[in-house]
Amino acid sequence: MADKSVASRQSPLVRAEQAKLAKKSPLELDRLIHERLRLGIISALAVNDRLTFNDLKRLLRTTDGNLSVHARKLEEAQYIVCTKSFDGRVPRTEFSLTAAGRRALEKYLAHMEAIIKAVRE
């Protein structure tokens, strides 16, 4: 559902990326979310208001260390927001996607779509 809403908003973006391809100007690939795990974090958060650290860890089948390193990079870029709280005495870390993060994902999807369309045409 949510990915459909992203797709429906991205056509101008796709057109812009295709125009860049047509002019043979270099495409700016967002390397920050090009990495698989970071792309997974952003994609999962795009369809959930918030996800806990453990939810993301299980969903992406990764380790604590790996997830925290990549989440930190996304947080530094202000693509995601990290909220720390306590559930009783147990610390709870939750992530949510920022507007900048959602825009970055939409642009990345548009970029990929433009590449596919350029090859097919």
Partner: protein
């Protein structure tokens, strides 16, 4: 592994120099290809960039689906529930408003619930999702109210001599539960719910004496058919 698309083409152009290709007459390369050729040749045979783009989009879609939908609906568990329902329909026979008939079906419902919980927990563990995750909780919250209504109506129907109408009531409300819960799951689940609802509606129209056939067709046939589809397409 981050590859900028703009960087690939110049790299590929360098991979097959006209006068230094290994094994084509150059005495230096008659032994084995030099290291630079081996390295660049890997890039030359790498997947085209659009294949990476397709794989990336597929990865994004799959991650979103797993994050947003409750995917631990058990396919094989459904098949077991279906077989059990067919056996129960054969044992219980035609609905006769007796405590025995209702009791047999309630026993089967308890067994099916146990199978469903165990199978869903196993599938969730296998696929790395929690039964306490947000999609699973939403599925449960949407699934439970129609079942609770079914419990209330079972008591009411049994107490007012409408026991022979219970098959239609159960099929309709179970279908409603699956359809509403299925809104938070993969597409086939709400479709299964709608099929149950259609069968329940038909059972209300049909003579009450045919109730056991509807039970076998719904809780048996639909569970087996959709269970096989879910098991095949959604990993068990």
């Amino acid at each position: 592994m981050n590859r900028e698309p703009g960087n690939r083409e110049p790299t590929n152009r360098r991979t097959e120099p006209t006068n230094r290709e290994p094994g084509t007459g150059n005495p230096r390369t008659s032994r084995s290809p030099p290291l630079w050729y081996k390295v660049l040749n890997v890039t030359n045979h790498a997947e085209p960039i659009h294949a990476h783009a397709i794989a990336d989009i597929r990865f994004i879609r799959e991650t979103m689906e797993r994050a947003a939908a409750f995917t631990a609906v058990p396919g094989w568990g459904g098949v077991v529930m279906g077989v059990s329902a067919c056996l129960t329909a054969a044992i219980a026979g035609r609905p006769d408003d007796s405590a025995r008939w209702i009791g047999i079906w309630l026993g089967d419902a308890a067994l099916a619930a146990g199978v469903a919980v165990v199978a869903a927990a196993r599938k969730a563990r296998r696929s790395g999702v929690l039964l306490s995750s947000a999609p699973a909780v939403k599925f449960g919250l949407a699934y439970a109210p129609p079942l609770a209504a079914g419990v209330v109506l079972t008591v009411v129907f049994a107490a007012t001599g409408l026991g022979t109408r219970l098959p239609a009531c159960w099929l309709l409300l179970y279908g409603t539960a699956v359809a509403t819960g299925g809104a938070f799951s993969v597409r086939v689940v709400p479709i299964m719910g709608l099929c149950f609802m259609a069968l329940g509606t038909a059972a209300f129209v049909a003579p009450p004496a045919l109730g056991h056939w509807f039970m076998a067709a719904g809780f048996g046939g639909l569970h087996i058919a959709f269970g096989l589809v879910i098991a095949k397409r959604y990993g068990g």
